[in-house]
């Protein structure tokens, strides 16, 4: 009987730990939502910060983050998808493909601050883009590349080989098969990965510190060579460097809430799509 007791104790502990983890998430979310929801108003979302960032809204930061999402998507999506098509459809099983896989994994493990350093050295200085949307987009795009590649590869692998064989047997070339059969079939799964990478981009702070983010810039960007404010960096700035903490704290809660809501929505869309697809495939 003793081992039964041990088992009950152990399993009880594991249940408790799992509850704690769920609890932590709800604690963080609940806290930010509770503190932030009073601050959110139409005005907060659509005006620029004023009075040394102790009043006003976060409109330029929202626009900046959208610019960066768009810019990094333009870079990461095509390259990432093509790269995944190559590794899963074209490259055989030799040394080269293993090398690429290892490199992609390694790139995914590099800390975001190192991407920031690299982006500053290459895009801001060497290529002379300066602190700009284009420099930040390149940096963020490269940062999410491994994520895009990995999810696309998984999506492509999920397509049964019978489809490839039938298409090839009908006389289609390899690229025609990929273009007309494989990619459309894998499309919904690929989209899930792309959405998750957008979620990653919208929250990253370290890579944009030295490549694009502006401390305070009330006007909106005019070209891709302009600096922008960005939500995560703005949150960092008003959270730590405000001279008047009493006045800026509510704004920080509001900014954090907007950021969390964006990330939540992105994650919800992604998991909704995935669930729908699982049913579709079954």
């Amino acid at each position: 009987m003793k081992k039964q007791v041990k088992q009950n104790i152990a399993f009880g502990i594991f249940r408790g730990l799992s509850l704690i983890v769920v609890g932590i998430l709800f604690w963080i979310l609940g806290f930010i939502i509770y503190q932030g929801c009073g601050v959110i108003s139409w005005e907060f979302l659509t005006t620029a910060p004023t009075e040394g960032m102790t009043a006003g809204g976060i409109f330029p930061a929202i626009v900046g983050t959208l610019c960066l999402i768009l810019g990094s998507s333009v870079i990461a999506f095509p390259i990432g998808i093509l790269s995944a098509v190559y590794t899963s459809e074209y490259a055989g099983n030799g040394f080269w493909i293993k090398f690429i896989r290892v490199m992609t994994n390694n790139l995914g493990g590099i800390p975001s601050i190192v991407f920031g350093l690299f982006g500053m050295a290459l895009f801001v200085r060497t290529l002379g883009f300066g602190d700009s949307i284009i420099a930040g987009s390149f940096t963020l795009g490269l940062l999410t590349l491994p994520l895009v590649i990995r999810t696309t590869e998984e999506a492509l692998k999920a397509i049964p080989d019978t489809f490839r064989h039938s298409s090839l047997a009908l006389g289609a070339t390899k690229w025609q098969t990929i273009q007309r059969i494989i990619l459309p079939m894998a499309f919904p799964n690929i989209i899930t990965g792309l959405i998750l990478s957008i979620g990653r981009v919208s929250g990253e702070t370290a890579p944009i510190l030295f490549t694009v983010a502006a401390y305070f810039l009330p006007q909106l960007p005019h070209s891709i060579y302009d600096q922008v404010m960005a939500l995560p960096y703005h949150l960092y700035v008003i959270a730590v460097s405000g001279t008047d903490l009493e006045a800026t704290r509510p704004l920080a809660y509001g900014t954090a809430l907007v950021l969390i809501v964006i990330v939540l929505i992105i994650n919800l869309i992604a998991s909704f799509l995935r669930k729908k697809l699982q049913k579709y495939h079954a």
Binding site: M103, L117, F118, T205, Y236
Partner: protein, 400 residues
């Protein structure tokens, strides 16, 4: 025509396939180019030099010794390999309190001469002077040959004071140890928690519970680090300060707690994957021998998935070591050697993030930060490669 088109497509795809490798190559090139430039900078501030009395046998002072001398911590020449005599540190501006403007000349043309006079008359002097006013040719003055920053002083240095004069201190140790210190305790907290959840998910949870837990964990991984930092700053830091009665709440402990939460998703997912891969034959054999579920988990599932669990820990370390924003916001950023969990500390990524904006481009400080980036890069590469190696071992095991 069609074949030609296919060839072009394949070529484009091959290029895209190589992108990640090229990016890594570029990162290595740019990081290490700037980082290695660090060792070509002089030890003391650019454009300055140190002079001593010609009778002084000392020919070399390390950056640390120079700093200690000008901080009045080292007061005798004997401590740095000279004769027994008191050290008199002399900064350039002091000359203006010793001589009037007329004595120094309208264009400061007599300045080097007067400096030479001071050095000649003070046997224990060490003067920190701009290159242009150095009394080079005067008798009784010896200029210390300025050496470049030395790898030994960087890798073995115990102080990080990149903006002090005359000799900035670029010591890696406090930052490296700070990073490892925070990471170690983060993993110590996250490991039991993560392992427990992983066991629950792979062995005990029903379909419904999994459907709640899995998205929760994904969401934890998806929350931006700056939000974790902010949460830590407004909730955990004041809490630690109050309950433990500390002068400041921004401590290594706050950093470890936040990082533990951030490492959880990685640890849980990887460890759970490994446990789920335990062959059912092994499980059934154990149950068939009369072991109950818990015994099976302890003696069969966990030992079998040990390499997967180690990969989880290693990847968790990788996540934690490179984390920037959250650590920057909650650890207090004091670049000191870590002594306890309840004091401020500073990590490598936080240092880069906090100082790169202020460091003049191309200077020693700027390149020192790139060198820190190189070290961070090497650490995470090591982490990725060892995790890869371990999971390969796990994959081989499946065969039996």
């Amino acid at each position: 025509m069609r074949k030609f088109f296919e060839k072009i497509i394949e070529f484009i795809l091959t290029i895209s396939g190589a992108t990640t490798s090229i990016v890594i190559l570029l990162i290595v090139v740019f990081l290490f180019k700037e980082g290695s430039g660090f060792f070509t900078h002089p030890e003391i501030e650019n454009g300055y030099a140190l002079c001593v009395n010609a009778g002084n046998p000392v020919n070399r002072l390390t950056p640390f010794q120079i700093k200690e001398i000008f901080d009045y911590e080292i007061e005798d020449w004997q401590a740095v390999g000279g004769n027994e005599a008191e050290i008199v540190p002399f900064r350039f501006d002091e000359i203006f309190s010793r001589y009037s403007d007329e004595e120094l000349g309208e264009e400061y043309e007599f300045l080097p001469e007067k400096l030479g006079e001071v050095i000649r008359e003070t046997p224990g002097i060490v003067a920190f002077l701009p290159m242009q006013y150095i009394p080079k040719d005067q008798p009784g003055v010896k200029m210390l040959p300025g050496e470049n920053l030395h790898p030994a002083d960087f890798f073995g240095g115990k102080e990080w004071l990149p903006t002090t004069t005359p000799a900035p201190q670029f010591g890696l140790l406090p930052l490296l140890l700070g990073t490892l210190w925070v990471a170690f305790f983060a993993i110590l907290i996250a490991l039991p928690l993560g392992l427990g959840v992983a066991i629950y998910l792979s062995e005990l949870a029903g379909e419904r519970m999994r459907n709640i837990l899995k998205p929760t964990i994904e969401l934890l991984a998806g929350i931006p680090s700056v939000i974790y930092g902010f949460f830590g700053l407004v909730v955990i830091v004041p809490f630690i300060q109050k309950t433990l009665n500390l002068p400041v709440g921004e401590t290594a402990f706050a950093g470890s707690l936040i990082l533990a939460i951030m490492a959880l998703p990685t640890i849980i997912t990887v460890a759970e994957d490994a446990m789920r891969n335990t062959p059912s034959t092994l499980r059934e054999a154990s149950l068939g021998l009369g072991a109950n579920h818990w015994q099976t988990i302890c003696r069969v599932v966990i030992p079998y998935s040990m390499s997967g669990i180690s990969a989880a820990v290693i990847l968790g370390i990788g996540r934690v070591v490179g984390e920037t924003m959250a650590v920057l916001m909650v650890t207090g950023n004091a670049a000191v050697m870590p002594h306890s969990l309840f004091e401020p500390i500073r990590t490598i990524p936080a240092t880069i993030a906090a100082e790169l904006g202020e460091a003049p481009t191309g200077g020693a400080h700027y390149q020192a930060l790139f060198l820190l980036g190189c070290i961070l890069f090497l650490i995470t590469m090591l982490v990725s490669i060892s995790a890869e190696w371990i999971s390969k071992k796990q994959a081989h095991k499946k065969g039996f």
